[in-house]
């Protein structure tokens, strides 16, 4: 498996552990938005949303562009892609281990099998 920490995924997974932050990401996946626009559907203060945005920003999940008084947030998909890739590699790791396990067990079955015996004898 490829190194998890080297990719800085801790921050990514921590950032998306929060349901409000995930909702913010989904919102930004549709299109970029200002903090006020992001905050609109949430029952939390603008200040709270601003803190969530900061966490997402630090994790590299979003970028923020300051245009006068407007802060426009944009989804940065690279970190998400790295995290997804890591999950896929985890699956891949176990799949290939299962391939090896299958080969190993086939060998075991050959050596353990009594002459002329059926598999049932090994149970």
């Amino acid at each position: 498996m490829v190194d998890y920490s080297q990719r800085g995924l801790d921050g990514v997974f921590a950032a998306i552990a929060d349901p409000t932050r995930r909702a913010i990401l989904r919102r930004l996946a549709r299109k970029p938005a200002t903090i006020t626009e992001i905050a609109r559907p949430f029952a939390v203060s603008l200040n709270a949303v601003s803190k969530h945005v900061k966490v997402l920003e630090r994790a590299g999940l979003i970028s923020r562009e300051v245009m006068g008084r407007r802060h426009v947030c944009r989804l940065q998909p690279t970190s998400l892609k790295r995290a997804t890739a890591w999950l896929n590699e985890c699956t891949e790791f176990w799949q290939t281990r299962f391939d090896a396990l299958e080969r190993y067990v086939a060998g075991q079955m050959q050596t353990k099998k009594p002459t002329g015996g059926s598999r049932a004898h090994n149970r």
Binding site: M1, P19, R22, R26, L75, A83, F98
Partner: protein
């Protein structure tokens, strides 16, 4: 690619033509385990397994260029049906994760279901509770589509 209903986990299934006892032994016998728990470029592998609840294991995989240490503690040892252990490696960010291996009899074969859950540390799991896997995938798919458009 990771197929799971629960986005917190990676679940891998495999049906293998061998009885559960043989497969359980392959997971718990150090010599056998050492032989097959040997990914791609790994040229030698040492395994010390103390297979009992609370017992620990250490696997040291060596490739030509690097060493990968995997350690953990057995949580459930229920032959031949279930094995649960923590799994800590560089690949998990040196954070303990939880691996559950279940062995289901399927006629003369065995279906193995492996569940790899991340962030089992109670402190960490509190923060990580949430469906990040699926969400990540959905978001990246969405992004990929957007890029194509």
């Amino acid at each position: 690619m990771h197929t799971t209903d629960d986005p917190n986990r990676v679940v891998v299934r495999r049906r293998i033509p061998a009885p559960r006892e043989v497969l359980f032994e392959a997971w718990t016998d150090a010599e056998g385990f050492r032989q097959w728990m040997c990914p791609g470029d790994v040229v030698s592998n040492e395994a010390i397994l103390d297979v009992r609840v609370g017992g620990s294991f250490r696997i040291l995989m060596k490739s030509k260029t690097a060493e990968y240490e995997h350690t953990g503690v057995y949580k459930i040892v229920d032959p031949p049906s279930k094995l649960v252990f923590t799994w800590t490696a560089k690949a998990t960010g040196d954070t303990p994760t939880l691996v559950t291996v279940e062995f289901f009899a399927a006629g003369e074969e065995t279906e193995i279901v492996l569940t790899h859950e991340k962030f089992t540390d109670p402190e960490v799991s509190k923060r990580y509770r949430g469906g990040w896997g699926q969400i990540l995938e959905k978001l990246s798919i969405y992004q990929a589509k957007k890029v194509q458009q």
